[in-house]
Amino acid sequence: MKRRLTFVLLGAVLTSVIVAGGLYLSASDGDALQIPKAVEAGSSFSIPTRAAAKAVLYIVSPAQVLRRNVEPGESVVIAAGDLHNAGHYLALLSGPGTTEKAEFDVVPASQPESLNFLAKPSRLPVGRPGGISGVAYVFDVYRNLVRESTPVSFQLSDSAGGTQTRSVPTRNGVAWVKMDSAPRAGAAQFLVSAGNVSEKRVVQQVPGEPCNLRMSAQRSGQRMILETAPVRDCNGNPVSDGTIVSFTQTYDGRSEATVDVPLKRDVARTELPARDGSVISVATGVVLGNEIRVGGQR
């Protein structure tokens, strides 16, 4: 019974501590300083005080910290540029027998001054719908994220002269788009602009996968000289040099030889033994080309 009573008392003490703590936290300690609820970053303003003696004014937030000595009855002037980081500030005037306080916001200027632009990917195949993304964050002159909705223009210009343009308003300081990669390979300029500022990125658009594959063969003594036609993607772009083309020779259904050859100037060339009755096939990636029967073409 004694123990139960102890636990009940312990509970009551804990509850009292919590309630007292809450009251302590919610208690106000001082008059309000006369500060506008919101001031623009970097702007000048003054704070009238009613301090009867020398005091200190603290303007504090995680964004910036200021401390000013205050003479009795004087206003504190915050000069242009002194308070430039956007944030929620606590102003506290502390002196003998005086505590005044106020909370206020420093808001970003609405004029964009810089852009943080991320274009992805930097390299991609042609003809990809929505394959390129652009994300832009808009900042003011003090590198505060601009809160007000700002129109941002995205422009993607490809090497063949094609242009896609979109205008998107920012939300919480960010605007984004998705653009299609062009049908023609080459470097595309990805430009973003807001107000008088712009940023540019280059997106390399490379040929896609081979679309079809055809080889021809020529007998030269005991060897077959094999050569593909120029290999192109489905938009007619020459497939990148270095793409591997595989030539395979089979006889009676058994694999006799396989040669992997990189494309050089759009074509792949190799030689295989001219064994009559054998079949030579060609492939690259997921594309199968034609077959040639040695001793009779297919």
Binding site: R3, R4, F7, L10, G11, L14, I18, Y24, L25, S26, A27, D29, G30, K37, A38, V56, Y58, V60, S61, P62, A63, Q64, V65, L66, R67, N85, A86, G87, H88, L90, L92, S94, T99, K101, E103, D105, V107, P108, L118, K120, P121, S133, V135, Y137, R143, N144, L145, R147, R171, N172, G173, V174, W176, K178
Partner: protein
């Protein structure tokens, strides 16, 4: 009715365990802020649960790092959770208060997080946090007034690094 001694002992043990649990929960309540997360309308990229959990965890850790940096005037405390612009600005503020001989104690009490943007390529997450916190200014070891209760709305942009999401933009704005 007499209760056998063994049964009474077991009850007392259970009661003690219950009280310890309750005390633990209460203490945990004091140590950790209350957190509510809304992430229904995130886009354009779909936000997986695992990503959301990691973003929220790392953002809350960022508040702890910030609190430590301002409490101890240690810029290096920001390294684990901040980079880029956010780190530069917070470091500048820590430097300012160190030069003025000030320290600030921040204690976050609650967060209402709304994840509002997850970029198409997955390289940035933006969240809006309606946060309540206490702050107390200490000037040359003299505590000024009692802790001030503050409610603010923060916008944060986080980007993934090797092991965690780090805060790249951290800025309060009017509610």
């Amino acid at each position: 009715m007499r209760v056998p001694w063994r049964t009474r002992g077991r009850s007392a043990k259970l009661l003690r365990l219950g009280c310890a649990l309750l005390a633990g929960l209460l203490l945990a309540g004091f140590a950790s802020p209350a957190v509510r997360v809304d992430a229904e309308a995130v886009g354009p990229r779909a936000l997986e649960d695992q990503t959301r959990t990691a973003v929220v965890r790392d953002y809350l850790q960022a508040w702890k790092s910030m609190s430590q940096a301002f409490q101890e005037n240690r810029i290096d405390a920001l390294d684990t959770s901040y980079l880029g612009l956010a780190k530069e600005k917070l470091a500048e503020a820590v430097r300012e208060q160190r030069e003025l001989g000030i320290k600030t104690n921040y204690r976050d009490l609650s967060h209402h997080l709304k994840i509002v943007f997850y970029s198409p390529e997955g390289l940035s997450v933006q969240l809006v946090d309606t946060v309540e916190y206490e702050m107390q200014i200490v000037d040359h070891d003299q505590v000024l007034a009692q802790p001030q209760h503050v409610r603010a709305r923060y916008v944060a942009v986080l980007t993934p690094t090797e092991v965690r999401w780090k805060v790249r933009v951290f800025q309060a704005q009017p509610e």
